[in-house]
Each structure stands twice: as structure tokens, then as C-alpha cells.
């Protein structure tokens, strides 16, 4: 009967479509799984370790540069880098080990360079008698150096060389 034939035909179509769909899911799943397993991760995750909860081997600490030689600034506004070790220096709200040498009053005894005059100026341009609160935390800008190798190559050129 025609009605029955049509019904059977539509049932067949449904079954075939289901089989094709199932096969596609399987194949694409297999391809996806394959691609996840085999494709090498070229870029390391920005978040750090691939398994943050696992044990991550830590590289050894690089040695600090402590030769006390003033380093040339790479551009005039560069905060001077620290040519000595600052390990275990206390820099808290209560104590500032850096300023025990670099504060204006103590430079005579310590021989350290005085903090720059910009460090006495608050954000309204008002000169204060001592370091301004916004410049209090030295290591926000000034950093010590170590013998660690750079993670990525650096193509920085001095503006003297590139300006003309």
C-alpha cells in the first residue's frame, strides 16, 4: 500500500541518517582526539605550568650581580638598576632598608647615591621634605640584576643608534 510504503521509506531514511550522523560523530571525535594528542604545543601556556596543581620543576635561582658598578641607563627616563644584592632587605610600611642608605640624610655615611629629587615631589607637584609616598616602594621601578639568560631575544637598540 502506498501509505505503508511511504512510512517504510521515511523510516529507512531516518535510520540511514542516524547511521551517517553516528559515523560522523565517531570520525570527528577520533580526529579531534588525534589532533589533541599529536599536535605539539608550540606556545607555552601564559598561565605558567601545564599542570598547575602538580609538582613543577623550578629552575635554580640566578646569581645576583653585586659588583656595585653603576650601570648606564638605556634611555634617559630609565629607573637606574640596582648594582647590589637586595636579598632579605625589608621593604614594608614600617621599614625601608633601601632608604637607610639612599635617603638624603644618610648618604654621607653610606656613600650611596641620593634618591632623585623627583622622589620628593608628590603628585600635585608639591616638594616634600622626605620621599613622597608614591615613590616609597623602590622595587616598583628599581630592580637588581642577575646573570639569568633572557627568556626571549631582545632587539632593543639605543635611540642614539636608531634616531638618525
Amino acid at each position: 500500500m502506498r501509505g505503508q510504503d511511504r512510512f517504510r521509506l521515511s523510516a529507512m531514511k531516518t535510520v540511514i541518517a542516524a547511521i551517517i550522523a553516528g559515523a560522523m560523530v565517531l570520525v570527528s571525535g577520533a580526529i579531534y582526539a588525534q589532533s589533541v594528542q599529536t599536535t605539539p604545543r608550540i606556545v607555552p601556556r601564559v598561565t605558567g605550568a601545564a599542570q598547575p596543581m602538580g609538582d613543577v620543576p623550578a629552575p635554580p635561582f640566578p646569581r645576583p650581580v653585586t659588583d656595585d658598578k653603576r650601570v648606564m641607563r638605556n634611555y634617559p627616563e630609565q629607573p637606574p638598576v640596582i648594582p647590589h644584592s637586595i636579598e632579605n632587605y625589608q621593604l614594608t610600611l614600617r621599614a625601608n632598608r633601601c632608604l637607610e642608605c639612599h635617603r638624603r640624610e644618610y648618604t654621607e655615611g653610606s656613600g650611596a647615591p641620593m634618591i632623585s629629587i623627583t622622589h620628593f615631589m608628590d603628585r600635585d607637584g608639591q616638594m616634600l621634605a622626605d620621599v613622597t609616598p608614591r615613590r616609597y616602594f623602590c622595587t616598583a621601578c628599581h630592580v637588581p640584576q642577575t646573570d639569568a639568560r633572557p627568556l626571549v631575544p631582545n632587539t632593543f637598540t639605543d635611540m642614539k643608534a636608531s634616531g638618525r
Binding site: Q90, R94, E105, G109
Partner: protein, 231 residues
């Protein structure tokens, strides 16, 4: 007072009479054994109260200063030598040690009345407590530092040039002592505002600025007079 004298006389009457029932042997031997036990017990108690475990038995020490110590080189370093609390805070010499232990009875008082029973109370009192330790180490020429570190054994060529120069200038000459510069090496520092670093010149050598003072005085007197005259 009368009561005290009568008690003492009662004790003296018993103590000054020769023993009637106990033999001399028992007295002598018993006295000797008692002395051994007393001295042994005293020394053992002294040793027990002189350990890191005893010091950190109270939460005041364990949660504050002991936690801070664990982040410093005096707790963990490359050569594996560790300084425990009494190494720096109790003199090693017997007489000095007993004197310090007597002073420390004040700390029992503080424990009972909770003088530093919270972190806030401890931080508020930290400057005063630190000043006590600085004064003690200054007075005995940093004796507890020098139990391990001696100037004579320091190889200045192995030090950073800056450290070597400063040690040669201040330490070897005896002009300053360890604690003058090395404050807060094993614990966090208190509020250091107004506390001069060890390498600053003594105040009496810096009074070339003193000629400013009369001016400042005159200025403040003038300002005060101006304020008074204003309506």
C-alpha cells in the same frame, strides 16, 4: 614584720639544734644526694627552658617571631647551620645567662596578663621590645652574634667590596658593633621612623647644622607672636 621575725626565730631554733634522732651519716649522705638532685634538676630545667621548642611553645612566639625567623638565612641557608632562639637571645655564659633568666621572669608576667596575646598587640609593642634587644646587644658588644661570627675569622676578600669596606671601617676598628647595622636580620622590623642606621655619624659630630636652630627658634617665636596679635 614581727610575724616574719618570729617565724625566722622558730626556724633558727630548729635549724641550730643538733639532730637527736638522725645520724650524721644520713644527714651528710642525704644532704649530698639532695644537693645532686637539686642541682641536676635546676640545670635540666635551665636546659629545657633554653630550647627552641620551649620558646615556640607559646603562641606569642610561635605565630609571630618564629614565623618570621623561618624566612631568614638564620633558619635555612646553604651551609645548613641554624641559629635557634636562645643562640641569639640568651647569653651562653653562666652568670649572664642566670641574669637574663631572671629578667625573663617579666615575660612570664606578660604571658599571664596577655601583653602581646594578639598580633595587633604584638605589633604595637614591637618597637619597645626590639629596643630592649638592641640595647642589650649594644651593651654586651653583640656578644651573641660573636658566638658564631668573629671579626678575626672574616675573610674580607670573600665579601662584596661594599661590605668589606664597611666592616673594615666600623667593625674592625670597634667603632660600631654588629647590631648597629644588622637590625632585623632574623625578624621583621618595627616602625623604623626616627631610628638612625648604624653607619650614620653620631649626633655630636653632625651638629654643624646647629646654627640653623636659633633661626628656627626665632622664626617660630615670630610666628607665635604674629598669631597672637591677629584678631
Amino acid at each position: 614584720m614581727k610575724w616574719l621575725i618570729s617565724k625566722f626565730l622558730w626556724f633558727w631554733r630548729i635549724a641550730s639544734r643538733p639532730a637527736t634522732h638522725i645520724s650524721l651519716g644520713v644527714l651528710a649522705l642525704g644532704g649530698f644526694l639532695g644537693g645532686v638532685i637539686f642541682w641536676g634538676g635546676f640545670n635540666t630545667a635551665l636546659e629545657v627552658t633554653n630550647t627552641e621548642k620551649f620558646c615556640t611553645g607559646c603562641h606569642e612566639m610561635r605565630d609571630n617571631v618564629y614565623q618570621e625567623l623561618q624566612r631568614t638565612p638564620h633558619f635555612a641557608n646553604r651551609s645548613g647551620v641554624r641559629a635557634t632562639c636562645p643562640d641569639c637571645h640568651v647569653p651562653h655564659n653562666w652568670t649572664d645567662k642566670i641574669a637574663r633568666k631572671m629578667q625573663a621572669s617579666k615575660e612570664v608576667w606578660g604571658k599571664i596578663f596577655g601583653t602581646i596575646s594578639t598580633r595587633e598587640k604584638f605589633l604595637d609593642m614591637r618597637l619597645e621590645l626590639a629596643k630592649h634587644e638592641w640595647a642589650r646587644l649594644k651593651a654586651n658588644d653583640s656578644l651573641e652574634c660573636r658566638n658564631c661570627h668573629s671579626a678575626i675569622a672574616m675573610d674580607f676578600t670573600k665579601q662584596a667590596p661594599r661590605a668589606a669596606a664597611i666592616h673594615a671601617k666600623f667593625l674592625v676598628t670597634g667603632e660600631r658593633t654588629c647590631i648597629d647595622c644588622h637590625k632585623g636580620i632574623a625578624h621583621e622590623l618595627p616602625d623604623m621612623s626616627g631610628i638612625e642606621p648604624g653607619w650614620s655619624a653620631p649626633a655630636e659630630l653632625r651638629d654643624r647644622h646647629s646654627h640653623h636652630t636659633p633661626d628656627a627658634d626665632r622664626l617660630s617665636r615670630y610666628l607665635a607672636s604674629v598669631k597672637e596679635t591677629q584678631p
